[in-house]
Symmetry: D2
Subunit: 347 residues, 4 copies
């Protein structure tokens, strides 16, 4: 299954084509809408005021409600665009946004309106594609769950068994410890009030993948496959598996996951390896964490350049922006993980 996302924030539509979808899947459009709703900006002041009616239209690949195996094209119309907000950005790239790199890459033909093809809005079709992947995984009793593990340095409670993630998707702000969640929300609102933004992390588990999938080799190893999907999510700047960066501080005796027999099955007592050894799944949950950078679009003035004159200029960004994308990114990361898991399974 391969996916190709197309569209721009202020174009007529955005969408995704999924190739190689197995035939006969009764596509659950309600579940897909549910995933998109998780990603939609909320009414709680934590997100952009832009309203997005992310209704998915199926252009192809579905017949009488079931997938046919032909390419599945899902399209979402765009609306509620304030393109004029962006005119000032045409030749004045926003620091740490894709504007400058995209300007060079496109040889000056960047659709600069609302982030164009670089917009976080493009994660909507990714979530839609992920909903298809989730359904395929569910047929194999594989599920994906996650929590916000940190925002602006405020950490959620440590994960003690992946089962806790199973029902977290219903929460608008999915954390294990709601008290920490309140602190995180306060940090987001404070940043918003300051015209600033904050970053954070998401810890995610894919539960139920059998042992023995993948290979140590380039192009076939599980961590490489997952990371390629995860880094394709805007704002992701770090991906780690299991104990991740903390392994840099450990000895083998702490880091190694001892084997034991449980219910007649070989399992490990801990999961510091994140379910992957030598590039191959070991039957434990594939557990990883991603770090998302603070939203680059902030209200405070910033230093930029004029790409026409080559002069340094001060930039003030107008328009409606998320002071933090982490909570909205939760279903996006899960979607990317579900697609990665399908590839690992050879779906």
């Amino acid at each position: 299954m391969k996916y190709t996302i197309f569209g721009e924030s202020h174009g007529s539509a955005i969408g995704v084509v999924l190739e190689g979808v197995p035939p006969g899947l009764a596509l659950d459009m309600t579940a897909m809408a549910g995933q998109l709703a998780r990603r939609a900006p909320g009414k709680d002041g934590l997100s952009t005021a832009r309203r997005e009616a992310d209704e998915v239209h199926v252009l192809s690949g579905l017949f009488e409600g079931k997938t046919t195996g032909a390419p599945l094209c899902l399209v979402i119309q765009n609306s509620d665009q304030h393109s004029t907000d962006y005119e000032a950005l045409r030749y004045t790239p926003r620091p740490s946004h894709g504007d400058y790199a995209g300007f060079i890459q496109s040889k000056g033909n960047l659709d600069y309106r609302g982030g164009g093809h670089f917009s976080g809005r493009l994660t909507a079709p990714l979530v839609a594609a992920g909903a298809v992947a989730r359904q395929l995984l569910a047929e194999k009793n594989i599920w994906v769950g996650s929590h916000i593990s940190a925002i602006y340095g405020i950490s959620d409670a440590a994960l003690d068994g992946v089962e806790a993630l199973r029902t977290l998707a219903d929460k608008p702000f999915p954390v294990l410890d709601d008290g920490r969640g309140e602190e995180m929300r306060a940090a987001i609102l404070e940043a918003k009030n300051d015209g600033d933004s904050v970053g954070g992390s998401i810890e995610c588990a894919v539960v139920g993948l059998p042992a023995g999938l993948g290979a140590p080799d380039f192009g076939r190893n599980v961590e490489g496959i997952f990371s390629q999907y995860l880094f394709a999510v805007p704002a992701v700047k770090a991906v780690s598996f299991g104990a991740g960066v903390a392994l840099s501080y450990m000895r083998g005796t702490e880091a190694n996951d001892p084997f034991e027999i449980k219910d007649g099955k070989v399992v490990t007592k801990t999961n510091h390896a994140g379910g992957v050894n030598g590039g191959i799944t070991n039957g434990m949950p594939v557990l990883f964490e991603v770090t998302l950078r603070p939203t680059p679009s902030i209200a405070l003035p910033q230093e930029s350049v004029d790409l026409r004159t080559g002069e340094e200029v001060e930039l003030e960004i107008k328009g409606r922006h998320d002071p933090c994308v982490v909570h909205r990114a939760v279903p996006v990361i899960e979607a990317a993980a579900a697609l990665a898991a399908c590839e690992v399974l050879g779906i």
Copy 2:
């Protein structure tokens, strides 16, 4: 350029096939040997006592010293193998090694001797392939450098400009602050004396890549491409770009990289984005950090299982093992980065 590594630790030979090597490159076998020497186990007690004469034989793709464009096959013969050391491991997987996952994946046909295809020894052909990539990059004035950024929680000095990495390759233990390096070495030796091992991190920069390479899309974005190469290196469990995981603790005002004009060129004052915005290079060094787990093979007894009987057993690993792989992994990570940079460049 695609690479395929083959071989097992105790097989007759290991090697790599490189497809799509541009023709006409006068292959610098001395430079390649130099890179392999950096990776070879040292005489300082920090590494395994196994001696490896990593002499590279070119089987194909080279004519009169120059690449022809046909597949380049590089082979290194194996020697100094103590296969009998490993007999006990056949059905008793080492915790956190690829043994168990590999046993399942291979349906019981794993070459268990010395880690087989999962052995760190397989990084020798990767370094050889990377040497080819480095030569191709050098023709475009692009270079790769790195330092050990941490071992067992002992951090090197913070990187203040990538130029400092340029000459570090000549050091046997490449750190910016040699005092910290001594502490790190002490931590490794201490772990060794305890029959244990330690992990660490490497920070690496690819300097000279022009702006505008890559795309935000899956399969084409620069961070995804790099991470696929980096996670194919054994022991790597985390990959981050620029400020990486620290972005989770930052606000936009700290994280954003302000633009300025320097020598008539658009640059950023900081490089928290690690040279990539929106999946596209921005002309700054591509800067990333990888975390390597502690060597899973330790001398202390560990909990394992007997894969024939399904019983829990205690495991004591014999043989010669690295108490830390981080310092030997430096040229390996650089090789992976060089290959990734070639893909980003479309070589």
Copy 3:
């Protein structure tokens, strides 16, 4: 540049996503419409009576008339569908059509209406994608031309220099010898009157590709690349290069293309190799011929089976069908060739 075609004959829309389109191309929508018009069913009785208004809508990847480098999604709405004509075909596959194979592949979920995703209608987005490729080739002075080389055994005049193909695109029935063309048309009409159909061949040249592109190896050789694009065109059952099948009847002295120097350039006096030696372009036109089978949908009764009962049944196909697809396939083959040429060029 990769293309993915989506859609079904009787779905809401058909289309194509092109990834990796170079930025800055001023997309010539008029030329694209012109190519689509060449493919549209004519008013001359040689084609289906179905009217298709193949107007292309650009959903993404274009800004102010120029490509941005982001995925280009082109969509054509469907209309004038007589879906009820097809109800009888749901479980009664048409001989030599994709119905049966598609039924099995889709596990019974085939969109059987009008050929579904297997419909010749899906060649419209292919022609649209090809128009983009043609523009990119034109920038490098490379052009694609072709003629109908045979229909139902009636051969066109032999090609004497590719220049003759340059202006043939303007002809509604592109043959070198119009007298032969009249005979071909008569054969098509005769088959139509008999409730039957006929097959034929198209000879096509890609002119201007430089020498030295490709490789002998799997996945990189020019003939393999072209054939993968050509066999993706419905009804194509044979692909040959240069003298093609006739090489089976030749000696080396006849088949070999002698070298000569012309205008200071190395060329060959003949082009029996079709511009490719050892999988690599030699600077001569890439010349190939494809054979298209007779349209499988014929009015005469045929032997089929009922996929529910497993009984043999007689099938009479209703609806409007082309008695021959060869003349309409000319721009489709050229589109596939243009896309293949782009891949060979590394675009």
Copy 4:
């Protein structure tokens, strides 16, 4: 399963790396040697006098006789090389050989000795790889068989049911009608005596592939997949399926394959489609024919150019060459078909 062939005719060794080989296959080295023996030059005067001891060495991916799933590297040492025969060809390309195209592609760094990487000798590792694929197919009761369908215009008897191909592999000159075979051999010897060469065709069937594999789409359709493997065989210039080029002379009533029920299974009475409809297998044998050009290396003088001076020169090729490669190519085509069938099966 992906294969990469490396090596040059007069290098130290040739070989192949197979990635993604399923684990647990007890590699039948005797069967592999048998396939290589079919390809070896004979003692009957029909082939080159060069002796090739094609002994396969397994460098990796095999443990205790079984595949492990790690890359399988097979190597054949070179010997009996008369490199000096080729010195005259360095700057004087042989017409219709890969010399000129390869010279340009390699920027003048072509290994010109004995055809280098373009040599027919490189089909030995392809046959070895094919032997692995054949074993995997045999486990699923799928087999590959073929006959020489024509040489220099002398046609073999028409194939009447694929069963006849099952035992042909044992024949040194595999034709259905031995009388025709004698005529073909005479034509080859006559060409040899004249210092010339001849071309021909091979018809091949893959029997046992289930219905429903593949898709109509680019990159996934069965004819496209097969043709990519087949055109990677040197000298192949045409590939057709089923009735192939003859479909250009047919009406739908002749070309269509009527369905019937046989032993409770849906089959077709004829197989003009070659087992593929709409890019998907229909359960009938995948039947195709390839045309191989006459050997370009002939003893008669030919017109060439001097690539240094740009002058036209007469070329006389020294050395030992095959007056016809068709009979030796039979196991090579079958190997390519077996590898293609594995890809179609998702192995």
